[in-house]
C-alpha cells in the first residue's frame, strides 16, 4: 500500500496511451445500452451499458460509462445489485485499466519453440482453431476424450466446459475448489446438509457478533461482506478476529486473538467446550435440530481453555470471554467460514468445527447468522445431451478424497505426470483465465505435468506465466468488451445481471463463447452450441424468466421476489428436514464416519518452523486479485510490488532494514525467483512472515508486473493434502532470509 509516501516520490509510470485500435465486428451492436442526450448533463457520460465485474469472483454488477467519442471512461456500481449495492471495490473501479492495458494478448499465437521458452508465431483464428481441433481429435483417438481437462476461473469457462462435455470429458476443475474454498463446503455439507456457497450466505448486515478466523476483510475486498461489516459495526456489532497478524479488520475488532499459527482447531474445540460446559449454547435449537450432542459433549470434555492455552497461546480468560461474547449475541452471531481455507490438510475437519460452533450458537437459518439464499430458476438454452464420459478424474484416485464435491485442479495436475501405476494420464489441458503456475502449489510438479502434455490451450486476456507454456494461446477480449452468460445470483433476493460490451474488442481479441463455438464447429460438435450468436442465446434464456435481452440492456439488473418466505427457516424453530443422513444438523457426522473419516473433529499438532525459519503466511491486498491484476495500470499505481512483513525482533536478529531487498528460501531449499522488499512491522508475529499473493511475475511481457515483488507460490512446495476432499493445504511452508539470489532458473 502506498502509505506515508512523499507524494513527490509517488511512482511515475508512463501514461497508458494505448490508442484505440478497435474495429467493429458484426458480432457487436453498440447502439444498445442507456443513451443520454449528448448535452443532457455536461461532463457526464454519453452512454452507459450494464456489466458485471470479472476482476474477482464476487461479480458485482455495474455500469460502464463511455464518453461521446466511445471511449470507456469509468465503471460504477449498480444500485439494484445486492453484490455491490451501487459501490464497486477498487478493483472494479479500476477495471478500466484491464481494458486499457497495452500488454494484453492481441492475436492468436501458436508455439514454435520449446514449451516455456516463449517463442510463438501469430496465427489466424481459423489456423488456431484447426490446430486445437486436430490436437483434440488426436487425443480422443489415441487415449480417449476423458484425457483432456479444463481448468477454469471466470465466465468464459462455461463455454469451454460445454465444448469439453460435448467432446466427451467432464474433467472440469476450478482452483477455487481444491486450492481455496472446497473444505468449507465439505465441512458445512457434512454438518448442515448444505454448503456455504458463493456469495456466502452470511447475514452480516444484521449480526451482533462476527468471528473471523484468518479472514482479512478489508484487505480481501469481497465487496458485499466488507460493506455489511461497516453497517453491522455501526449498529454496535462486535468483531472477534483470530489471526497471527494484526490485519486491518483486527484493528477494528473488539477482540483480536493473536493466535499461534496452525492451532485454530484447538481454539474452536475449546470454544465449544465453554459453550457446552457453561450451558451457553442454544439449548432449544440443539434439542430440536441437532444429532450427536452428547457425543460432542463427551468429545470436548477435556478440551478446556487451559488445554487450548498451551497450544494456541491465547489466554484461558480470553477464550472464555470471547465464547461468552458469542453466546450473548446468539443466535445473531456468525463464526465466518472464510474463503481461502486450504491451510494445513485437516481443513475439512476445521471447517466442520466452525460449522458445529455455529450450530451450538443456533445461528444457521437465523437472522444475523446464516440466511437461506434463493435464486431464479434459470434455464440454459437447450442443447443435445452430452455424451457420457468413459471415466472421470476420480478414477485416478481410487478410494481417496471421497467427499470431494468438485473436480480437483491439483488432482488433475498430479494425474498428468505419467506413472506406471495409472493406465491413462491426462494428455490435454485447456486453461481458461487461471495462471496455474501461481495458483497451484508445487511449481516443479506443475511444470513436469505441462511438459508431459500433448496439447495445452490457454485462453486469457494477458500474457501470464502459464501462457508461456501453451501450444496455442487464444486472446480473449476483456469483460468490458463482451457478452457472457447471465449472472444468476443466489442471495437474499434473487437477481439476474447482464454483461454486455461497452466497446468493441481491441486488437484481434474475441469473447470465449465465440472461440468455444468456433472450435466446436471445426470438430463437428457445433450442435452443442445451437444458437447463431450469444445474443440469440441470452434472449431466449431471458424470455424464460419474464424479461428479454432488450430490457436487460436497459436495466442491467433485475430483481425478483422470493418464491418462498423462508429467508430464516429456523428463526422460530419450525420443523425442518436437513439434507443429511439423519435429517438433523449433524454434530456427529455420519457421512464422515461412513467414509472412514473422524466423525468429530480432532486437534492435530502441525509441524512448526525449524530454528531460523518462519511460517509463510500469505494474503490479499484490496487493490489486487491474485496475479490477474498485477499489470493493470490503475491498480499497479496503487500497489506495484509486495513486501515481506517481518516482526521487529526478527529484523533485529537478522540485522534487517526497512525497504532492503532480499530473497526468501523455504525448507526445501527453494529460493524465491525474485527479491522482495522488507517491511518491518509489529503487525506480524515473531514466528511468521507475511506477504501478499500475486506478485513476482517472471513473464517479461508484463511490462509493469515483471520482476516486481516475489511469489509466495514459488515457495509453497510442501503441500498437506486434505484426505477428505483433496484440498491442498499450503500454510505448512517455512522460509528464511537469503541475501543473494538463488541459482538462475529459466522460466
Amino acid at each position: 500500500m502506498s502509505t506515508n509516501m512523499d507524494r513527490r516520490d509517488f511512482i511515475k509510470i508512463a501514461g497508458v496511451g494505448a490508442g484505440s485500435l478497435a474495429f467493429a465486428t458484426p458480432l457487436f451492436d453498440f447502439s444498445k445500452g442507456e443513451v443520454l442526450a449528448p448535452d443532457a448533463v455536461p461532463g457526464m457520460y454519453a452512454k452507459r451499458t450494464p456489466t458485471y465485474c470479472e476482476i474477482c469472483f464476487w461479480k458485482c454488477a455495474g455500469w460502464v460509462h463511455t464518453n461521446k467519442d466511445g471511449k470507456i471512461w469509468k465503471v460504477t456500481g449498480h444500485e439494484d445489485d445486492p453484490h455491490s449495492n451501487g459501490r464497486l471495490c477498487p478493483r472494479g473501479t479500476g477495471g478500466v485499466g484491464m481494458y486499457n492495458d497495452e500488454d494484453r494478448l492481441k492475436t492468436p499465437l501458436i508455439r514454435t519453440g520449446e514449451r516455456g521458452n516463449q517463442t510463438f508465431r501469430e496465427a489466424s483464428w481459423d489456423e488456431a482453431f484447426t490446430h486445437i481441433a486436430d490436437g483434440l481429435k488426436k487425443i480422443a483417438k489415441e487415449h480417449g476424450p476423458e484425457c483432456v481437462a479444463l481448468f477454469s476461473h471466470g465466465s468464459g469457462g462455461k463455454y469451454f466446459g460445454d465444448l469439453l462435455k460435448g467432446y466427451g470429458s467432464t474433467n472440469i476443475a476450478a482452483p477455487s475448489y481444491a486450492q481455496c474454498r472446497g473444505p468449507r463446503e465439505v465441512g458445512f455439507i457434512a454438518t448442515f446438509g448444505e454448503g456455504v456457497e458463493s456469495p456466502e450466505r452470511v447475514d452480516i448486515r444484521d449480526t451482533r457478533c462476527l468471528v473471523l478466523l484468518g479472514s482479512h476483510f478489508g484487505e480481501n475486498m469481497h465487496n458485499g461482506p466488507v460493506q455489511e461489516i461497516a453497517q453491522a459495526t455501526a449498529k454496535g456489532a462486535s468483531i472477534i478476529t483470530v489471526d497471527p497478524r494484526f490485519s486491518t479488520i483486527a484493528s477494528k475488532s473488539k477482540f483480536w486473538l493473536p493466535i499461534k499459527p496452525a492451532t485454530d482447531m484447538a481454539l474452536l474445540l475449546a470454544w465449544m467446550h465453554v459453550l457446552i460446559y457453561e450451558g451457553l449454547y442454544d439449548k432449544a435449537y440443539i434439542e430440536k435440530y441437532a444429532y450427536g450432542f452428547e457425543d460432542l459433549k463427551a468429545h470436548v470434555a477435556g478440551m478446556t481453555p487451559e488445554w487450548a492455552y498451551g497450544i494456541t497461546t491465547i489466554k484461558p480468560e480470553v477464550i472464555r470471554e470471547t465464547a461468552r461474547e458469542m453466546a450473548n449475541a446468539s443466535p445473531r452471531v456468525i463464526i465466518h467460514p472464510g474463503r481461502h481455507v486450504t491451510w494445513y490438510g485437516d481443513d475439512s475437519q476445521r471447517l466442520r468445527a466452525v460449522a458445529m460452533l455455529n450450530a451450538l450458537l443456533g445461528s444457521w437459518g437465523r437472522r444475523g447468522g446464516y440466511y437461506n439464499p434463493e435464486k431464479v430458476p434459470f434455464k440454459s438454452h437447450p442443447h443435445p445431451p452430452f455424451p457420457k464420459p468413459a471415466r472421470t478424474w476420480k478414477d485416478a484416485y481410487p478410494g481417496k478424497f471421497k467427499l470431494a464435491g468438485l473436480a480437483l485442479a491439483s488432482g488433475i495436475c498430479d494425474a498428468t505426470v505419467p506413472t506406471t501405476e495409472r493406465d491413462c494420464s491426462f494428455k490435454g489441458w485447456i486453461v481458461n483465465g487461471t495462471n496455474l503456475i501461481h495458483t497451484l502449489p508445487n511449481q516443479a510438479n506443475t511444470l513436469k505435468a505441462i511438459q508431459a502434455l500433448d496439447l495445452m490451450v490457454v485462453i486469457d486476456t494477458m500474457p501470464m506465466e502459464i501462457t508461456g507454456y501453451a501450444d496455442v494461446i487464444l486472446p480473449e477480449c476483456t469483460y468490458l468488451e463482451r457478452y457472457d452468460n447471465i449472472r444468476v445470483s443466489k442471495h437474499r433476493e434473487p437477481t439476474i445481471a447482464l454483461r454486455m460490451p461497452a466497446a468493441p474488442p481491441k486488437w484481434n481479441t474475441k469473447p470465449a463463447w465465440w472461440m468455444a463455438k468456433g472450435i466446436a464447429e471445426k470438430m463437428d460438435l457445433g450442435h452443442f452450441f445451437p444458437w447463431k450468436d450469444i445474443e440469440e442465446k441470452l434472449d431466449w434464456e431471458l424470455k424464460q424468466v419474464g424479461t428479454s435481452l432488450e430490457e436487460m440492456q436497459r436495466i442491467g439488473v433485475k430483481k425478483y421476489k422470493r418464491e418462498y418466505d423462508d429467508l430464516y427457516p429456523m428463526e422460530n424453530l419450525d420443523d425442518f428436514e436437513f439434507y443429511t443422513n439423519t435429517g438433523k444438523i449433524e454434530l456427529y457426522s455420519t457421512a464422515m464416519e461412513d467414509e472412514g473419516y473422524d466423525p468429530l473433529p480432532k486437534y492435530t499438532a502441525h509441524e512448526e518452523p525449524p530454528e531460523g525459519y518462519y511460517r509463510l503466511i500469505y494474503g490479499r491486498a484490496p487493490m489486487h486479485t491474485f496475479s490477474r491484476t498485477a499489470n493493470n495500470p490503475n491498480l499497479v499505481d496503487l500497489m506495484d510490488e509486495n513486501s515481506v512483513w517481518v516482526n521487529p525482533k526478527v529484523a533485529k536478529e537478522w540485522d534487517l532494514e526497512n525497504d532492503q531487498y532480499l530473497w526468501l528460501e523455504n525448507q526445501d531449499g527453494i529460493v524465491s525467483k525474485t527479491p522482495i522488499k522488507v517491511r518491518i512491522t509489529e503487525r506480524i508475529r515473531f514466528d511468521s512472515v507475511y506477504m501478499v499473493h500475486g506478485f513476482g511475475h517472471t513473464n517479461n511481457k508484463l511490462s509493469r508486473a515483471f520482476g516486481k515483488g516475489a511469489s509466495d507460490a514459488d515457495l509453497i512446495t510442501k503441500v498437506h493434502v486434505d484426505p477428505v476432499m483433496g484440498g491442498t493445504g499450503m500454510r505448512g511452508n517455512f522460509v528464511t532470509f537469503r541475501f543473494e539470489a538463488g541459482e538462475e532458473v529459466s522460466s
Partner: protein, 177 residues
Amino acid sequence: MRYAMAVDTLKCVGCSDCVVACQTENDVPVGHCRDWIVEKMTGTYPELQLEIRSERCNQCANAPCVRTCPTEASHYSTGGIVLVEEDECIGCKACITSCPYDARFIHPEGYIDKCTFCIHRVEKGQNPACVSVCPTHAMIFGDLDDPNSDISKAMATRKWKSLIPEAGTDPKVFYLL
C-alpha cells in the same frame, strides 16, 4: 455555504477505492493522485492500534496555496472549495511548497493539480466520486452551514480531529475518531 468532508477512521479500511475512483472520474494521469491512503500504526505486538485515513486537499478556509499564488490561479470557489485555474497557472510550485498537506502535484500538462471536491459533481447535487464509491460509506460530504446536513450531525455527535491544526489553515477535511 461551507463544503466539508469527514472521513470516518473507524470505517475506513484503506482499500484505495477513493483513489482509483478519483483517477477515473477526473482523468488523473496514472502515476498521480489527488487523494491517497495513510496508515498510522502505534504500539508493540500484540498491543496495537491502527488508524487509517483517506487524505486529500484540506480545502482550507485560510489556504496558504491561495496566498502564495502569484497569478491568483489558486482561488476560492463555490462553498469555499479551493481550485486551480489551469490557464492562469504558470507552474511555479509556490503552492506546492506552501501546502502543509502535500496535496498538490504537477500535472504532466504543466499546471498544478489537486482535489476539487469534484465540484462538477457537487454542483449537480452529487457527492464527490470518492464519497460515492466508498464501500464502507466511510466518507461524508456536505455543508457545514446547514445544521441538518449529515456532516454537521456527524461533527456534532462524534469525536473528530483535523490534520496539522497548528498550521492555522482552517482545514475543511475532518477525521472522525
